[in-house]
Assembly symmetry: C2
Homo-oligomer: 171 residues x 2
DNA sequence: TTGTTCCTGACAACTATTGCTGATAAAGTG
DNA sequence: CACTTTATCAGCAATAGTTGTCAGGAACAA
């Protein structure tokens, strides 16, 4: 992602106004490689500016995405993730337990020649279990400040001996 | 996916009861390669049994998933998709406009050796535009019975000359 | 048949995200 | 700096997809 100054200039050049709230979002994202959720960004921004609303963070993230300064990713963990690294092509590891997302260098296969479909980009998601969740595999736990991946269902009693664990290890 | 008879036996073997509603879902999924949404399954089932509730369809789909008879996929189109093809490994084309999802044969890259992460499976998503949406690219339209991909945001006036189109071509 | 367990259907609740709106603040102009 | 013109802010309401709850009713086993 570009620097806060560059983003400020770019926003103005596009007729967008630059407010302290937006700059706080810029600062939080610059050099952030944790793929934070919007909620996480909001929490971080509120540490400095306690009145900023979640709505404002969503707006700013969308504006950044429109300018191509971040990617908004939905990998099926229930919340979108913001990726400020748009310069270098890369893919992701996704922890199926806590939703944690890390960059990974794998070469994507070439988009296949498919009649009736114009391929634009190829996304690779490596799903698995992160170290923190692996360590906590014994039973559910909850890291401080972490949110929990949506992983529920009524399913009264039978519970056919499949995953039931739940853990969180978001940084 | 297995046949309706096999699924019936398998459900019973696992202590799950087999009702007309569940069999209607089985029937709708057997040999279905459209990756229907739960809502679409519901609509299809209601054509024969108008009283079946959406909740029941969700339950049945989840039970099928737990037995490994279907895969429930979330590719970020706002609704989960049900894939009855669990026998052969494959990946997907996803239309960014209408959410349509088709099978594609691409070889996934080998899961990289990443310390601190136990990779379990690699998912490849080829995003692009399907033929129907390509044809309708001139302006928004709405196919009969189709649902629309969530693609909105207030964003008052400025509209920085980016995508605004919206189209639907779900079968 | 009878009892037990599970499923159904209707509706409420929940979560992530977006819509709405008066008040406010950023740019632009002199 | 004073002033005008917009775009943004914060808060709250609304929405969509999915899941929780629970009182009947149906399916299976004996
Ligand atoms: Mn990344
Ligand atoms: Mn498929
Ligand atoms: Zn994890
Ligand atoms: Zn399409």
């Amino acid at each position: 992602m570009k620097s806060v100054e560059e983003l400020t200039a770019r926003f103005r050049a596009h007729g967008l106004r630059v407010t302290p709230q937006r700059q706080a979002v810029f600062r939080l994202l610059a050099g952030n490689d944790t793929h934070p959720t919007v909620e996480a960004i909001h929490a971080g921004v509120r540490a400095e500016m306690p009145t900023v609303s979640l709505r404002t963070v969503y707006q700013t993230v969308h504006d950044l995405a429109r300018l191509g300064e971040v990617h908004v990713l939905d990998v099926g963990t229930g919340q979108v993730r913001v990726d400020p690294n748009v310069e270098e092509a890369h893919h992701h590891l996704v922890c199926t337990r806590c939703g944690r997302m890390d960059d990974v260098a794998v070469e994507a296969p070439a988009p296949p020649a498919t009649p009736g479909f114009r391929a634009e980009r190829v996304e690779v998601i490596v799903r698995g279990t992160c170290a923190a969740c692996e360590a906590a595999a014994g039973g559910p736990h909850r890291a401080p400040g972490g949110a929990t991946v949506r992983r529920t269902e009524h399913e009264t009693a039978h519970e056919t001996a499949h995953e039931t664990q739940e853990a969180t290890c978001r940084s």
